[in-house]
Amino acid sequence: MRNTWAVCKREFASYFSTPVGYAAAGIFAALAGLGFAVYFIDYATMSQSPRLYGFTTAPDFEETMLSPYLVFCGQMIMFLSPLLTMRLIAEERHRGTIELLLTYPLRDREVIFGKYLASLGMVAVLLLFVAVQVALVGYYTRVEPAVLLLGVLTVFLMGAAFSSLGLFVSSITRNQVTSGTLAFGLCLLLYFTGIMGEYLPKTNPTPTAWPDMARAVAGILYGLFRGFVTELDLDAHAKQMAQGIVRPSDLVYYPLFSIFFLFLTFRALESRNWRSGS
């Protein structure tokens, strides 16, 4: 535990002794600020003439402003997370410090969790900017605490999921740039998979001319595929949760996603013990 903490502290501090931490925080602050303004102006326009936008009364603040904004923040973290995770392990390899790290009395799990915690710490730092904006809103109007808490939790869990993906990619690369590009590409892929999923037909798409048996089998396979594609989408889960609607599948999705990639990271780090190369 103490070792995990030591690794985490060093890693977290190096976000701020290099430009990475400032760059990520600065860009996120700018994006989140712009997003906040845009969603806020939208909300203001809608509440001035709700009928024009199909509302009978003033639109619900949490539903039309707060949760879309929080999901937006989650998406921004998705784009920035490769910046935070790309060097975690790749840089140790590149600089050769991994030779020290792996010859210190550390367990693999202490190395991995330490680094993962540091990246979560950075996500938390980014969320501080969101907190400032939400606090401003809270000063002028009452915000449903459940929606707010769940919303922020969702953004954090999204960040945690992207960090685990980035950590894994970093553990299989030697070069930061490769690591960052790969992690960014995978995040984008997941994002677009989600958008694609909305276009997949909801019913069995096999031709009726096929024999019943073949249609049934193909239908089941298609159903699994469609389910997989739509559930894989990272922000689909966020949208519900950010509105304060708790579905167990959403709540479990991000931790499962993280555990999966942390597990892969373990295997990647462990592979040094059986791979024949260096």
Binding site: A6, A13, S14, T97, L102, T103, R107, S276, S278
Partner: protein, 249 residues
């Protein structure tokens, strides 16, 4: 203290070490000699648990490196060849981080770091960024991190490379001192160095131990004369090995 038994290491199909066996007793200072690519660094990496051996067993203080890596790593201080450091950190912060990871209690950490810095001539350098250090000072920091926690075994991969003559003399003196209460395994290209600090020398060539000499078997009156004798022993061992190899082929 160190027992290596029939260790081989292959990178893909290329053999880096072939059936290496040797032992190092407690408090001994052993020199690894050999041309580039002889397998000195590979042996050290296996002993520190950084890379696994393809075959054979390596034990440090009775613990098998692959089976109880933590026990071994707690007892070994390691200076890697290229001295990789976290460039953005300052000397003091880096050494405190290493001390923490090596399990030195918080209360003792400052004294321990101070002791290692003093021993390596780093006093007053605490606030310097590692990136800006000269090769010599990087080497000292590398040595200091290996010394933290006073591990009974020190494995130093070319500890004097890139240092100026004065620093080389200082480091050699230090290694000789360390040899009094540590088991030291060091590698080098520099023959006189071995003659000065080591009690025993292992000569590696193309992944095999081709000769083993005790320094006191050389009768030369001073270090320089012993170094010359060692030099001829070294050349003889390498040439003999080449001849054998060609004969076999």
């Amino acid at each position: 203290m160190i027992e290596v038994q029939g260790v081989s290491k292959y990178y893909g199909t290329i053999p880096a070490l072939r059936d290496v066996t040797f032992q190092v007793g407690q408090g001994e200072v052993i020199g690894f000699l050999g041309p580039n690519g002889a397998g000195k660094s590979t042996t050290m990496r296996i002993l520190t648990g950084f890379t696994p051996a393809s075959r054979g067993t390596a034990r440090v203080a009775g613990f098998e490196v692959h089976q109880s890596p933590l026990e071994v790593k707690r007892r070994v201080g390691y200076l890697p060849e290229r001295v990789p450091l976290y460039d953005e950190m300052v000397v003091g912060a880096f050494l405190r981080y290493v001390a923490e990871i090596k399990g030195i209690a918080r209360a003792a950490r400052t004294t321990e770091v101070g002791r290692a810095m003093e021993r390596c001539g780093l006093l007053g350098m605490e606030k310097r960024t590692l990136r800006n250090l000269s090769k010599g000072y990087r080497q000292r920091v590398g040595l200091a991190q290996a010394l933290l926690g006073s591990p009974p075994v020190l494995i130093l991969d070319e500890p004097t490379v890139g240092l100026d003559p004065r620093q080389i003399i200082e480091i050699r003196k230090m290694i000789a001192e360390l040899g009094q209460d540590h088991t030291v395994l060091l590698s080098t290209h520099i023959l006189p160095e071995v003659a000065m600090v080591c009690q025993r020398v292992l000569i590696l060539n193309e992944g095999r131990i081709v000769a083993e000499n005790r320094m006191d078997q050389f009768q030369g009156g001073d270090a320089e004369a012993r170094a010359r004798e060692l030099e001829s022993a070294f050349m003889a061992a390498i040439t003999r090995d080449r001849a054998l190899e060609e004969g076999a082929a």
